[in-house]
Amino acid sequence: MGNEVVQPPIIHFDTLDKILGLGRANSLWPMTFGLACCAIEMMATGAARFDLARFGAEVFRPSPRQCDVMIVAGTISKKMEPAVKTLYDQMPEPKWVIAMGNCAISGGPFVFEGQYGIVEGADKFLPVDVYIPGCPPRPEALIEGILELEEKVTGHRRWPRVEAK
């Protein structure tokens, strides 16, 4: 499965990893991989109003070779599953996976007894790093997910966390 430990680089020591981590966290290139309704919210996040560019993540690369994050935005059907696996393989390390929306987390509104078509959740076959609930999640939720991933990459959170008053 996809969680075997990858060999570390030839030269790696703690401060270097911190510096590289900071660089990677603030320039996450997501893959254009919109499946369904969450893809439209992903596009809205990339557009002018919610502006993912403030966090360095607005470059949506179509080819898996050039991206760091696979944002699974939508329902994964059984016919699409092999394609998702192939795309995940073709992404170079270090790579992360964000499961955006209920469909990618647990199959969402399309889970009913007798369902024959969808895979109930991306974590059935992908090592998911950040889960963003919502159907579809608001663009702010996707941005919070990106910040969550940045915290996971660098170890500390640079942006203030939203507190409910």
Partner: protein, 373 residues
């Protein structure tokens, strides 16, 4: 050399996957292209990568429980799908809808149609290479999404209609916001016209590209802007009047050329027509309640099958429901417009250049989960 270009396929053809993950397909549509160099010998769309079993769910959920599904089929003009399903069940069960509720339905559906056309406009010009119009179009669209969110509660996958009416009334802020949006959008459209429509690059990319004849539209059942771009004056709101559409005067833009430019122009003119409808609807908005007096508790349509079609942003969306008198559907068929619009893709792109085939696909305005259902 001249003979060389027009010769039949004699060198090897190769198969290219315009696959499920491709920026031009705006979703998970795969097109298997057999290519002769830059020319397409045969294009065969492969569907099913986002088949979400809506029709199977129609059979094991009660009529009311199926409502959230309507917003998740075509999430760009989700309210038209709410309208199609709710109107079909109302026709089957004989439920009356108060006047004000009909007006609210028309206003929100037309706003949703404008937001869908705006997103199509941004994505289509993005396919042809221009990135900036997408940002402008999304900016306008956010305006509509705020308005609709204040009434329906969600941005994209609406579940606003109920059997016999709508569940939330609009307030003055919504009416003022809508009028303000229309004023702002009327100033914005000339800018799109000048910058994009009259842009020589766009005209060169779209004129005479992907011709769809009237006969092809008949054999494939293409409806909506794709048919109106080929000279067919068919708009469900006019040909098969439903709800309160007969009370508004709006005209249906029809272009004869049948190429991608015609389909582009039809959608751009429809934005203006929808704004006219909204203005008239806001002026003539009657008072009254928005739900039937006696709340519709249990929906049990008569035995038999019923059909109801509405004009969604992409064509005529029809709901055929076969009910056996219980409170769940015996069979629920959803006739999706882009399914028929895309079925002519194989015949329309024979011998075409690949970039032109992508321009044609963009002009068909596809939403893949609505095709796969």
């Amino acid at each position: 050399m001249n003979g060389l270009l027009q010769q039949d396929v004699n060198q090897e053809t190769f198969t290219l996957n315009l696959g499920p993950q491709h920026p031009a397909t705006h979703g998970v549509l795969r097109v298997k292209l057999v290519m002769d160099g830059e020319y397409i010998v045969e294009a065969e769309p492969v569907l099913g990568y986002i088949h979400r079993m809506h029709e199977k769910m129609g059979e094991n959920r009660t009529w009311v429980k199926f409502l959230p599904n309507c917003g998740r089929m075509d999430y760009l003009s989700a309210l038209s799908y709410n309208h199609g399903y709710v109107a079909a069940v109302e026709r089957a069960a004989g439920i009356e809808v108060p006047e004000r509720a009909e007006y609210l339905r028309v206003i929100t559906v037309e706003l949703n149609r404008i937001s869908s056309h705006l997103l199509w406009f941004g994505a289509f010009v993005l396919d042809l290479g221009g990135f900036t119009p997408l940002l402008y179009a999304f900016d306008d669209r956010e305006f509509i999404l705020d308005l609709l969110e204040s009434v329906t509660g969600s941005r994209l996958t609406y579940c606003y209609f109920r059997f016999g009416g709508v569940y939330n009334d609009i307030d003055d802020a919504f009416i003022a916001g809508t009028r303000e949006f229309i004023k702002k959008q009327r100033k914005r459209m000339p800018m799109y016209d000048a910058l994009v429509t009259k842009n020589i690059i766009l005209i060169k990319r779209l004129k005479e590209i992907g011709p769809i004849s009237k006969d092809m539209a008949i054999r494939y059942g293409a409806t909506g802007p794709v048919a109106r771009g080929s000279g067919i004056n068919y708009d469900v709101r006019k040909n098969e009047p439903y709800s309160v559409y007969p009370e508004f005067d709006f005209d249906v833009p029809v272009y004869e050329e049948g190429d991608s430019m015609a389909r582009y122009m039809v959608r751009m003119d429809e934005i203006e027509q929808s704004m006219r409808i909204i203005e008239q609807a806001l002026d003539k908005l009657p008072e009254g309640d928005i739900k039937p007096k006696k709340a519709v508790k249990l929906v049990k349509p008569e035995k038999g099958d019923y059909y109801h079609a509405v004009e969604a942003a992409r064509g005529s969306f029809g709901v055929r429901l076969v009910s056996d008198g219980t409170n769940t559907a015996y069979r629920l068929k959803l006739r999706s417009p882009t399914y028929s619009n895309l079925s002519l893709y194989g015949e329309a792109t024979k011998g075409m250049l690949l970039p032109d085939a992508l321009a044609l696909m963009g002009s068909l305005d596809l939403v893949i989960p609505e095709i796969d259902r």
